[in-house]
Symmetry: D3
Subunit: 284 residues, 6 copies
C-alpha cells in the first residue's frame, strides 16, 4: 500500500511562462523514456519479481517509488511553464482578440484545448503514452540491462532538452533529474556488478561535463548522484545492493538515505476564461 | 512524495491457475476503464488542480492513492492465475513436448512470451494502455462527471468479467474492487451533490443485486462501500466532501477511515524453464 | 444534411448465436477495409472535392450514403450473432457458474466486457478503427484507384470470411454486401473509364464463382450488382457516370435506382444480468 | 437507411485563409471529443440499444443524425481556412520559390501533403481518429452520463479553441456548434432527469458568459439551445424525452423542431499545382 | 539473402541545414506512403507470392530491392538537413544560451531529443511508422492496383513537399525519387497491362509538368523513368513484364538496366554536445 | 545499395500446417523484439552513425544485413505453417461447409482475411509493427546496450515460443535464430568490451541448456554462435571488433565468415478458393 505527504521532492524555481519549453519537457513526463515509463516499468518489474533474491526486488521497488514523485515534479514544472501564457484577457478576450493566438504557435495545442494550461500524459510530439514502453521479461539480467539503457537515455535526452530553453524552472528540474537518473543508473549498474560485470570506465552514460549543466552541481555536492532515497515505511534489503563503491568513474560510496525534506507545491491560480476549475461559473 | 509498506490492500485467495481468466482480468488492470487509468486520471486531475477549493483536490488525490494499491492487487491476482499454467516440464520439456501448447490456446500469448507468466500493461484484447484514456480538462464539473462514468463503468465491467470464471482468486479480487468502485462512485457523486445535484435513486450504477456476487457481501458488512481509506501522512480536507449521507439509494454514512491492515504479497516461485529470474542460469 | 428512416437495407435472417462468427465479422464493420472505412473515405472525398466536375462528387457521395446503411446492417448482424450466447443464467448465474466461460473462448472478450453483447468499432483482431485508414489525396485519379482497391478488397475479404461459419445471418449479410461491393467496384471502375481506361476482363476483382456463394444469386437476379441506389432528396448528376455498359466482364447496364424498400430492425432483448439497458435496476 | 440533401446546416462566413486555425479546428472534427466521435458514439449506442424504452433510442439516434451534418460543416470550414494559403504561384512556383514554405510553419503538414488543402480525420495534434473514443456499454445510465461529459467537453474545448483565432469562418462555426452542444447537453441531461436526477444549477457546463462569444447570441435568439432538430422521415418518440422545462439554469422549453432550411456548400476551387482534382493533368 | 555495397543510389547535394525541411521530408521516409512502406509492402508481397507466375514475383522483388536504397538515400538527406542546425556552442552552450531554442520551433523535437540530429522512422507529423500500412492480400490484381496507388501517391506527395523548401539537398532527392516513382508506377501499370488493362492516357499520375521540377529533367534524360534497376545477383524473369512500350503517355521503351554506379555516403561529423557518438566522453 | 540472391539463409523443414504456431511465431517477425525491429534498428543506427570510428558502423550494418534474411526466413516459415490449414474444399466449400471454421479458432484471423494464409507485419497478439520500437539515440554506448537487450530478449522469447508447438518447421527456424541471436549478442557485447566492459560470466543471456533445444546443436557445431556472416560486396572493418575471444562464458573465437550457401525458397501453391494469386479467376 502507498502513502503520501504533500511535498515535492525538489523546488520549482519561479520564472516566466514558456509554452515551447513546456511542450518539449513533456518528453520527460510522458515520453518513451520519461518518468511515467520508468515508474510503470519498475512497478511491473517489482510486482512480477520471482524467487527469493528479494534484495533485487527491493531495489526495483525503491526506484519505482521515487519515480512517482518525479512525475509529480515534472507535472508541476510544466504547469508553471504554461500558466499565464497567452495575452491578458480573461473576461473580454473573446470579443476583442485571440489571446491564445501567439501562444499556440510553438506550443502543443492540447495544452490549451484539453489541459487548462496544464500537463498531459503525452510526449514532446504530442503522442500519448503507450503501455508497450514497459519492459518486463521476468529475467533479472535483461531487465537490469534495459533499466540501465532507460536511465542512460533519460540523462541523454535531458541534456539535449536542456539546450532548448534557458527558463529557470525548466533547467532546475532537468538538472535535479539528471543527477537522480545518474543515481538510478548506478543502482542498476551496481546490481549487474553483483552478477559479475565490471563496467570499467563506461559510466556515467553519457559522461557529461557537469560545468555545462551548472544546476547539477549543488545536487552532486549533496551527494545525490550516489544516494538512494528510501521511501519504505517497513524493512528493505535494498542496501545489500546499493552500497559500496559507485560503479561510475566519478567514484564515491553508494548510500541509502532519507529522502529530501520536501518542498511546497506551487499554488495554481484559477483560469476563469478557461473555466478552470469553473466553480465561479456555478455562481455566475 | 510517496511512501510504501509491503502489504496488499486485500487478500489473494489461493486457487488453481486459469490463464483464460488472467487474460480477461487484464481489462481491470490495463483496460480503458481499468486501475491504471483510474490511477493516472486522478493523479493528473489532482496535480493539475487550480484554485483554493482544495477539498476537491484532496478527494481526487485520496482516491488516486488507493488506485496504486489496486494496481498492485490486480497484478498479483493475474500472476497467481498464470503461474504454473502449462504442462509440467521445466528441464526436459523442450525435447519431449510443448508444455505451453494447451495453455496458450485461450491465453494472451504475451503472458508467456513477454511476461514470464505475469501481468502486463494491456487490456483483455492485448491492446497496450494508452495515455489518451486519461480525462483531465481542468474543469471540476466535467472532471467529476467523467470520474462518475469511470467508476460506474468499472463496476459494470467487473460484474461482466465476473461471469467468465469461477476461479476463487479471480472472483475475490473482483468482488473487493466492485465494492471499492462503489465507494469511489459515492465520492465523486457526493462531490457533485455539493455543487447542487440531487441524484435521486440513480446510484449505484449499475444497481446490481449483491446476492449474485457473494464475495461482495463481507466488504459491504465492513462498510467498505461507504468508506474512504486515508493514505495521507499529513492533513487532508477530504472529509469536507466525503461525509454525511451516501448519495446511493443503498444509504449509510460516508466516512474517512484507516486503510485495511494489509495482507502479505504471495510468494512468486522461480520458473527455471522461462529463465525467470534466471539467477540459476548464471551459476549453471 | 442527413435524414433517416428506420429501415434496414437488407433483412437479418434469424439463426443461432455464434460469437466466433461475430468476432470475424467485425472486420467488415471496423476493419481497415470495412464499412466504417468506406463510409468515412467517401465522406471525406466528397466533402473535399474540388472543381466543377461535380458528377464525380455526386458519385462519391452517393456511395458514401449507402455505406451508412451498411454499417447499420453489419451492426445488427453482429448483435444477433452475439445476443444470447453464453449459458442461461441471468439472475442466479453469478453464484452457481460462469455462464460466459465457454462463450469467451473463441470470442472477442470486449464483446462481453464493453459491448453488452453488441457491436464495436474494431476489427476481427480487436484493433480499434483508425483515422489513417481514410485515403483522400484530393486527386481524382488516385482517389478513384484507391476506391477500386478498397471495394475489391472488400469482396476478397468477405469471400474469405464467408468460409468461417455457416451461420445464416452471417452469410446472408456477407452475400448481400459482396454484391453491393461489386456495384461500387463498377461505380469507381466506370468513373475511371470516363477518364480513358479500358479494363479489359479485369473486373470483377476477385472473379468469384457465384455458385460458391449461393446467397448472392438472388441479389444478382435483382440486378443489384449493376444498380446504384439513390439516397438523395435533391438532384444528383450521378447518372452521368453510373450508366451504360458495366465495366465488368459480367456485363449488363448500370442503372441508378430507388433503394430497397427496407426491412425491420430486429428487436434487441434486454440483458438483465449485463445491466443492459439497466432500467429495471433503477426500479429494483 | 439514410438520405441526404446538399445543404449545410449552417453558413460558412467568408474570410481569409488561416492554416493555423485550420490545424486547431481539426480537434472539433477528428479529436477525442469532436464531431466524428459524437456521431459514431451515438450511432453505436442507438444501433445497439436494447429493450422497449425506444424513446431513449430515438433520442440517441436523433442527435446522431445531426452530428453527420456537423462533420460536414466542420469539413467545409476547415477547407475554407486552408484553401489559398501559401504564396501565389500555381504553375511556376516550383522553380522560383517555395510557396508553402511559410504556410507550413504553423500548419499541420498533412493538410498540404495528404489533403490538397482540405480536412482530415485527425485532431489538432495530427493524431488519427481512434475507434476506442466511442463509449457504448449498453447501460443506459452510464451511456447518458458519458454523453453529458462528451457534450460538456465539446463546449469547453470550443470556448478554448475560440481564443486561438479571430477568423470569422472559424468563429461562426464554433459559435453555432457551442449552442448546438448545449442543446445536446440538454437532451442527455433531460433524459437523466426522467430517471430521477435533479441537476440543480449544474448546467450548462461550462456556464460561459454568452457576451464573450457574440456569434452565439443569434442562435440563442433562434432558440437553438433548446431545440432538437428532427431529421427523421418516419415517426419518432424523441419528444417523450425532449420536451418540457430545460434542465439548464438558462431555462426555456425544450422543443423538437424542423432543421434549419439549409445553406449552400461553398465552391472549392481547383488547385492545379497540387494536382487537385487533376483533371487538367489528363488533358495536358 | 541480401548483400550490400556502401554506395548511395544518388548524390546528396550540399546545402545548409534546414530542420523544417527535414521535418516534412520524414513523410517520404516513414510516412504512410513513404519508402519504408513501399519497401515492406513489396517485401511481403514477394515473399508471400503464390503460384508459378514468378515473373510477377520477380517484378515485386525487384522494386522492393531498390526501395532499400531509397530508405538509405532519404535517411542521409534528412541527416544533412539536420546536422549543424542550431546555434554554435558545443562545449559552453549549456551555460550561456539555449542553442536549440530557435531550431526546435519549426522542427520535429524528436529529431533533437531522440535522434542526435538524424532521421527517425516517423512521418511529417511525428507519427511512428505502422505495420498496417502494408497491403498484401495475396491476390495479384488487388496487390498491383494498390501498388499503383502507392507509387502515384508517392509522386503526388513529393510534388507537394517540393514546394516547402528551396533547399538543394531536399529538392535533388525529391526530384530523383519522383522519377523513380514514375518508373515503379510504370512497372505495376505494365503488369496490369499484361492482365488486359489498357490505361489510355491515365499515366503518369499525377501528370506533372516536368518544367516545374527542374531537378527531374536530368534523370528523365538518363531514361530513369523507364528503367528498372536490377539488383539481383542471380537470374530474374522481371524483363518478361518490364519491357516494351511504356504504359505512360510519356512513351518510351521499358528496360531492365544496371543500377547507377553509386555515390559516396556523406561524412557525418561528431556532435560532442549531443554525446554522439560519445566516444570522447569515454576518454574525458 | 542492396543486392539479392534468391536463397534462404536456412532450410524450411517440411511439416504439417499449424496455424496456432504461425500465430505465435509472428512475434519473431513483427513483434517488439522481432526481426523487423532488429533490421530497422540496426539500419537506422548504421545510417545515422557519426564520426570516424567506422568499425562500429560496419558492425551495426553487418548485423542489419543478416536481419533482412531473417525476416525472409520467418516469413517463409509462417507461410508453411499456414498453407493448407483448414478443411479441404477449394471449389465447393462455400456451399457445403465452413472450411476455415476450425482453423480460425486458435489462429490470428487476419492470417485468413488479409494474408492469403501468409505472413503479416504484426506480433503474436495481432498488433501491427510500430516505428517507435526502433532505438537509435546516436550515442554509441546506449545504442550498443540497447542492442544487447534486444538480442538477449530475442533469445529469451524464442526459448519460450519454442515450448508452444512441436512442429518441426517452427522449431528448426527457432533453433537457428536462437544461435544467430547469440552471435549477435556476442557482437554487441564484444563492442562494449572494446570500450572497457568486462562481462564476467553474464553472457549468454539467458544461459540456456542447449540440450533442451536440440535443433540448436548442429548450428553450434558449425560455429554459428561465434560467426558473423559477411554480406558486404566491398571492404568492411567489422573484424576489428568481431574477432578474438568470445565475450560469452561458452568461449571460442569470434570470426567473420562467408554466409551459408543458401537454401531454396519453398514453392507456395496457389489457393484458388482464396483467390490467391487469382490469375485463374481472370481466365474463368
Amino acid at each position: 500500500m502507498f502513502f503520501y505527504r504533500e511535498d515535492l521532492i525538489n523546488m520549482i524555481v519561479p520564472d516566466k511562462p514558456d509554452p515551447a519549453a513546456a511542450k518539449v519537457l513533456q518528453e520527460t513526463l510522458g515520453g518513451q523514456f520519461g518518468e511515467m515509463r520508468t515508474m510503470m516499468q519498475f512497478f511491473f518489474q517489482s510486482s512480477n519479481f520471482r524467487g527469493q533474491a528479494t534484495q533485487y526486488r527491493d531495489l526495483l521497488r525503491g526506484v519505482f517509488l521515487e519515480e512517482l514523485s518525479h512525475i509529480e515534479l515534472v507535472q508541476q514544472t510544466i504547469n508553471q511553464l504554461l500558466t499565464g501564457a497567452g495575452a491578458e484577457g480573461a473576461g473580454q478576450a473573446g470579443i476583442d482578440g485571440a489571446p491564445l493566438d501567439e501562444a499556440i504557435k510553438h506550443a502543443n495545442p492540447h495544452h490549451y484545448i484539453m489541459g487548462a494550461q496544464s500537463s498531459l500524459p503525452v510526449d514532446a510530439g504530442g503522442n500519448p503514452w503507450l503501455g508497450n514502453y514497459v519492459y518486463d521479461h521476468g529475467n533479472l539480467v535483461s531487465n537490469l540491462l534495459d533499466n540501465v539503457v532507460l536511465e542512460s537515455t533519460g540523462v541523454l535526452q535531458k541534456t539535449r532538452i536542456y539546450e532548448m530553453s534557458t527558463n529557470k524552472a525548466f533547467r532546475e528540474t532537468l538538472g535535479f533529474l539528471i543527477v537522480r537518473d545518474n543515481a538510478h543508473q548506478n543502482a542498476f549498474a551496481k546490481a549487474l556488478e553483483t552478477l559479475g560485470v565490471n563496467w570499467g570506465k563506461l559510466f556515467p552514460v553519457p559522461n557529461y561535463d557537469i560545468n555545462k549543466y551548472p544546476e547539477c552541481q549543488k545536487y552532486v555536492d549533496l551527494g545525490y548522484h550516489n544516494a538512494q532515497f528510501n521511501f519504505r515505511l517497513d524493512q528493505t534489503r535494498i542496501a545489500e545492493i546499493y552500497s559500496g563503491q559507485s560503479p561510475s568513474r566519478n567514484g564515491g560510496e553508494l548510500q541509502v538515505t532519507e529522502p529530501p525534506q520536501g518542498f511546497p507545491l506551487p499554488y495554481m491560480p484559477e483560469l476563469p476564461n478557461e473555466h478552470s476549475p469553473g466553480l465561479h461559473d456555478l455562481n455566475a
